[in-house]
C-alpha cells in the first residue's frame, strides 16, 4: 500500500540531481555543528556530534524518536545552548550571550514547526505578514503583495482571509511554510514536515520543499523519519541514534550501506540493532511452561 503511494508521489517530485556530494567542510558550510554535547540534568541527548550543512542543499536529519533531531534544530536556532562544542551560522557563533546578535541571526533563518505553530488569534494573511510587519518597515501595500505571493507559492492565496481554526492541518502547515519563507531566509528548517500527512499532502509538501530550495538558493534542513520521501528530495542525509551520528552521506550511499543499524532503519525492518522485544524474561518462564 505504502509503496504504491510512494511511487505515485515520486512521479510528481523532481528528483534530487546531485549524484556525488562530499560533506561540506567546516569553512564553507552555512551551518556548522562542531563537537556539541547537550543534555538535561541526567539525560544526555547529544554527545559530541558534528554536522555540516552546505549552502544551497537539502539535508535530511533522520533517526528514531528521541534521538535528538528536534534538539538539533533548537540548538541551531539558539533556543538552547550546548554544554560543550560550537554552533556556527555563516561563520558566526550562535550560542553567544548577545541577544541582539542572536536576533539578527534568527532573522536569516526560517523554521517550520511540526504542527505549524500558527498564531491562532490571527488570520492566515496576518500570520504570513507577521514577520514582515515585525522586522521590516515596508508599507502595507508592499507587505500585502509579498504575502499574497508567498501564499500563492504554497497554493493558498485564496485562503488568505480565513481564521486559523477554519483550515485543515495540511493547509496549516503550508501557511506556516509561507510564513517561514516570508523574509526569504538563508536557511529553512523543517521539524517533521511529513508527520501525519495523507499521500497528496505528502507529495505537495515534498515538492514544495525541493522547489523552494532550488528557486531561492536557500539551504534546507529536514528533520524527519520518512526515509523514502526524504531520499527522494534530499542531497545529503545524517542518521542519528543514541545521541550520536551513526552515518552520513548521499541517499545512494546510505541505501548501499552494510551497517546493520542503517539497514534496519532504512528498510524499516522489525528487528535488528533496535530490538523488537522490550527486555523481559523468557516467555516460557513467565507462563510457567517448561520445554
Amino acid at each position: 500500500m505504502r509503496q504504491s503511494a510512494d511511487r505515485d508521489a515520486r512521479e510528481e517530485i523532481s528528483l534530487a540531481p546531485t549524484p556525488e556530494l562530499k560533506p561540506a567542510s567546516e569553512e564553507t558550510a552555512l551551518v556548522s555543528i562542531q563537537g556539541v554535547t547537550f543534555g538535561y540534568d541526567a539525560r544526555v541527548i547529544l554527545s559530541d556530534v558534528s554536522l555540516q550543512f552546505p549552502r544551497g542543499k537539502v539535508v535530511a536529519i533522520m533517526g528514531n524518536s528521541g534521538c535528538g533531531k528536534t534538539t538539533l534544530l533548537r540548538l541551531i536556532g539558539g533556543v538552547v545552548t550546548p554544554q560543550s562544542g560550537r554552533i556556527l551560522f555563516s561563520g558566526l557563533p550562535v550560542d553567544t550571550g548577545d541577544r541582539t546578535a542572536l536576533f539578527n541571526l534568527r532573522r536569516r533563518m526560517g523554521m517550520l514547526f511540526q504542527f505549524g505553530a500558527l498564531f491562532t488569534d490571527l488570520t492566515v494573511f496576518e500570520n504570513v505578514a507577521f514577520p514582515l510587519r515585525e522586522h521590516t518597515d515596508l508599507p502595507e501595500s508592499m507587505i500585502r503583495d509579498i504575502v499574497l505571493m508567498k501564499l500563492d507559492a504554497v497554493g493558498l492565496r485564496g485562503a488568505a482571509p480565513l481564521r486559523i481554526g477554519e483550515i485543515s492541518g495540511g493547509m496549516a502547515r503550508r501557511v506556516a511554510l509561507a510564513r517561514a519563507v516570508a523574509l526569504d531566509p538563508e536557511i529553512i528548517m523543517y521539524d517533521e514536515p511529513f508527520a501525519g500527512l495523507d499521500p497528496i499532502s505528502l507529495a505537495v509538501t515534498a515538492n514544495l520543499i525541493r522547489k523552494l530550495n532550488d528557486a531561492t538558493g536557500a539551504t534546507s534542513l529536514m528533520v524527519s523519519h520518512e526515509v523514502h520521501v526524504c531520499f527522494e528530495i534530499c542531497d545529503y542525509a545524517y542518521l542519528l541514534s543514541g545521541g550520536r551520528v551513526v552515518v552520513h552521506g548521499t541517499p545512494r550511499e546510505l541505501q548501499a550501506s552494510e551497517d546493520p543499524e542503517v539497514r534496519q532503519f532504512i528498510r524499516g525492518e522489525m528487528d535488528g540493532p533496535v530490538r523488537f522485544h522490550y527486555p523481559a524474561p523468557p516467555i516460557g518462564q513467565e507462563l510457567g511452561i517448561h520445554a
Binding site: G77, M109, M111, A117, F119, T120, P131
Partner: protein
C-alpha cells in the same frame, strides 16, 4: 530516624518553594524591564484590556449587586437592634470600599480572567507558538506577556470600582426602597463617615496591588506550564489557587498597613 526523614523532606520542599519564589521574582523583573518596549505597541494592550476587562464587567457588576443586596439585608438586621439603621449606607460603603470591593473583585478576576490567561498562554506554549515567535526573533514576553500584565493592572481597579459602585446602589434600593430608611440620612451618614483618601483611595491602591499580583501569577503559571493538555489543565487550577491565596495574604498585609490606628 523518621523525624530526620520527615524534616529532610520538609526542608527540601521549603527549598523548592524558595527557589520557585526566586525564579518568579526574576521573571517579574524581566517583564517589568520590557514594559517600555511593549507600550510602543499599545494596540496589543488595548486588545488585552478588552479580553480581560470588558469581558469581566458583567460578572463583576452582577456580583457587586448581589453582595450589596446581601450586605444591606444583613447589616440592617444587626443595626436595627441598636437603633442605628440610618448608618446602613455607611456600613455598606465602608465594607465595600475598604475590603469587599477590591478582594472579591480580585478573587472573581482570578477565576474568570486569570484562568483564561493561563490557559491561553499555556496552549500557545503547547502549540509552539511562543517558540515560533522566538525563532522569528520576536520576544514573546514583549508581545504576549507584558500586554496582558499591563491590561490586568489597568482593569482591576476599574472593575473593583464598578463592583463597589453597583453594590452601594444595590444597598440603596434595599435600604431606602424596600426597608424605608430615609434617603437623606442614608447618603449623609455615608458621606460623613467615608473618607475619600483613607477609604476609597486605599481601596484603589489595594486593587492595583491585587491586579499586579493575580495577573502576574496567571501569566507566569501559564508560561511555565507543561506543554501538554494535562499540563495546561493543571496550570489553570493552580492559577486560581495561587492567585486567590496571594490576594488574601496581600489583603491582610495591606489592611494592617493602611488601617492601623495610629
Amino acid at each position: 530516624m523518621i523525624a530526620a526523614d520527615v524534616s529532610a523532606a520538609v526542608g527540601r520542599r521549603v527549598l523548592t518553594w524558595v527557589a520557585l519564589l526566586g525564579h518568579a521574582t526574576i521573571f517579574f523583573a524581566d517583564l517589568l524591564r520590557r514594559i517600555p518596549e511593549s507600550l510602543r505597541r499599545f494596540g496589543l494592550t488595548v486588545t488585552q484590556v478588552h479580553a480581560i476587562g470588558n469581558r469581566s464587567v458583567v460578572i463583576i457588576a452582577a456580583s457587586g449587586a448581589t453582595v450589596g443586596l446581601v450586605l444591606a439585608l444583613q447589616g440592617y438586621i444587626t443595626l436595627s437592634r441598636y437603633g442605628s439603621s440610618e448608618q446602613l449606607g455607611l456600613l455598606v460603603a465602608l465594607a465595600l470600599l475598604r475590603e469587599l470591593g477590591p478582594v472579591l473583585t480580585a478573587l472573581l478576576f482570578a477565576g474568570r480572567a486569570g484562568t483564561s490567561l493561563t490557559a491561553e498562554i499555556g496552549l500557545m506554549k503547547a502549540g509552539e507558538q511562543l517558540a515560533a515567535m522566538e525563532m522569528m526573533a520576536i520576544d514573546p514576553r514583549v508581545r504576549v506577556l507584558v500586554p496582558r500584565l499591563i491590561a490586568g493592572v489597568i482593569s482591576m481597579p476599574l472593575l473593583a470600582a464598578i463592583f463597589s459602585a453597583v453594590g452601594v446602589l444595590a444597598s440603596y434600593f434595599i435600604g431606602v426602597g424596600l426597608i424605608g430608611i430615609d434617603s437623606g440620612s442614608f447618603w449623609s451618614a455615608m458621606q460623613n463617615g467615608v473618607d475619600v483618601f483613607k477609604d476609597l483611595g486605599n481601596g484603589v491602591i489595594k486593587s492595583i496591588v491585587f491586579g499586579i499580583a493575580s495577573t502576574f501569577v496567571a501569566v507566569y503559571i501559564g508560561y511555565e506550564s507543561q506543554a501538554t493538555p494535562e499540563g495546561v489543565a493543571l496550570a489553570t487550577t493552580r492559577t486560581v489557587v495561587v492567585s486567590s491565596l496571594s490576594v488574601l495574604l496581600l489583603d491582610f498585609i495591606l489592611t494592617a498597613l493602611m488601617f492601623s490606628t495610629r
